[in-house]
């Protein structure tokens, strides 16, 4: 870590663990959970958010001294919306099927609270380099949860990962299915995502007791 001072490295490390945007800060759940039924969609969503947050944080940080504070929300929305349009058009051009699966949820990155939250809390008060690291860190923390949820939902719900049948063929009864294993269709329906995130929070807080909320 010669490239980064300890303080800068923490900007990336903290959101991955004890200051995770989803499980601790409770930001950005809105557009995240609906698309985690498949691992592929989760990964694409994580990358899209990584791009929007990294670039967006730098842009906001660069213009932070010339934004009048009264209209900063609208300025931030315009910056995010422009970046999201780029992501949307790229996806439509190079991964049309995927952009159909993600449908409106790419657009909803705009109102992802995680992005506005980091703009407000960090990019408006820090230089572009640190803002970039903060954006990358938080987007990674967000992506990690998304990928974990997507992994378990796809594996347990359809027995596949990235669409590849890793547990055998449920119709031909090969692999695990030969000994009577069945897919859990429950994992595919939307509410299962909430329960999986609830369990992730449970595991994380059992391991780090300092995070437990007072009742």
């Amino acid at each position: 870590m010669a490239l980064l001072s300890k303080k800068d490295a923490n900007l990336i490390k903290d959101p991955l663990g004890d200051n995770n945007p989803i499980t601790i800060q409770v930001l950005g759940i809105c557009s995240a959970l609906a698309i985690t039924a498949e691992l592929k969609a989760s990964v694409v969503m994580a990358i899209s958010v990584l791009f929007v947050m990294g670039v967006g944080n730098v842009v906001i940080s660069l213009i932070r001294n010339i934004i009048p504070s009264k209209i900063r929300i609208i300025v931030q929305l315009v910056v995010v919306a422009a970046l999201v349009i780029i992501v949307d058009q790229v996806l439509k051009a190079f991964a049309y099927d995927l952009s159909k699966t993600l449908s409106v949820f790419i657009g909803l990155i705009i109102t992802n609270c995680i992005i506005m939250g980091r703009f407000e809390a960090f990019a408006l008060g820090n230089g572009p380099r640190r803002a970039f690291l903060d954006g990358i860190g938080n987007a990674l923390g967000y992506g990690v949860i998304l990928v974990i949820v997507g992994f378990f939902r796809e594996l347990l719900g359809s027995g596949t990962l990235f669409g590849i049948k890793v547990l055998g063929d449920p119709i031909a009864k090969t692999g695990l299915y030969a000994i009577g294993y069945e897919n859990n269709g429950f994992m595919i329906i939307p509410p299962a995502a909430l329960i999986v995130v609830g369990i992730i929070i449970w595991v994380q807080r059992s391991r780090n007791r300092a995070l437990i909320e007072e009742a």
């Binding site: 409770v26 315009v78 999201v84 349009i85 449908s103 609270c113 509410p191 609830g198 929070i201 009742a215």
Partner: protein, 246 residues
């Protein structure tokens, strides 16, 4: 009339903003600790959705859709500005929220005091932008239905936040495992409520399509619509050519 009723109940129960598509989760989790604040935010969401969805419907119809600019003249028929929808929708929402705030402050200070702090929050509530984007994706055919869709989705969101706030007020007296306290148990309860709401799925049409399949069908209809549009465009050019030949 029947389609209004169907859309109304469908948006409240089957396609519930919170339980079926997870929109507005951030404020749903953050502002649901007390019933009274939950009611304030819920009312504000109904109001703003009821205003912005019809407005964005007009924008979509007369500005953004493929060929929507045809009212300017036949030479504009080829313009497709739909890639601008995100930025225009969010601009409409942000300005409307500001306007609503000013108007409410002026004419009803008591309502402003109860809603006031929540209104600026709403500009970045995904339920609001989601309402407009779903209105576009589901191709709501006329402005009356768009208004209906906005208000009934708002009511669905209102019901959800009211229910979770009431449960959270009571759950304080229960013995929840320490690591699950607060956020964790709220997630799991919401998940269980979502499973409950899934059972409304067969209420209207008698089919038991899970939401995934509903999403697929909207995608298909979009494709079909594109095909139809192509055909129509061809028909138009043919009739146009015929007119020229005459």
């Amino acid at each position: 009339m029947l389609e209004h009723l169907e859309l109304f109940f469908r948006s409240i129960f089957i396609d519930n903003m919170v339980f079926a598509v997870f929109l507005g989760m951030c404020s749903y989790l953050a502002v649901s600790k007390r019933v009274t604040t939950a009611v304030g935010l819920g009312a504000a969401v109904i109001f703003v959705l009821g205003v912005t969805v019809p407005l964005n419907w007009l924008l979509d119809k007369y500005l953004l859709q493929d060929g929507a600019l045809v009212w300017l003249g036949p030479e504009y028929a080829d313009y497709d500005l739909s890639f601008l929808s995100f930025i225009l929708f969010i601009a409409t929402i942000a300005t409307m929220v500001q306007l609503v705030e000013i108007v409410v402050e002026k004419f009803s200070p008591s309502l402003y005091n109860s809603l006031g702090i929540f209104l600026p929050l709403i500009a970045v509530n995904c339920a609001i932008l989601g309402g407009s984007l779903f209105m576009q994706a589901r191709e709501i055919p006329n402005i009356g239905l768009a208004l209906n869709y906005g208000i009934s989705s708002g009511i669905g969101w209102f019901l959800a936040i009211l229910a979770i706030a009431a449960i959270r007020e009571k759950i304080r007296y229960s013995n929840v495992p320490a690591p699950l306290r607060g956020l964790g148990i709220t997630f799991i309860i919401t998940g269980l409520m979502g499973i409950g709401f899934q059972s409304f799925g067969g209420m209207l049409t008698g089919d038991n399509d899970p939401p995934e399949e509903i999403q697929n069908t909207t995608v298909e209809t979009k494709e079909e619509k594109e095909l139809k549009k192509e055909i129509e465009a061809k028909k138009e050019t043919i009739s146009y050519n015929e007119a020229i030949n005459k």
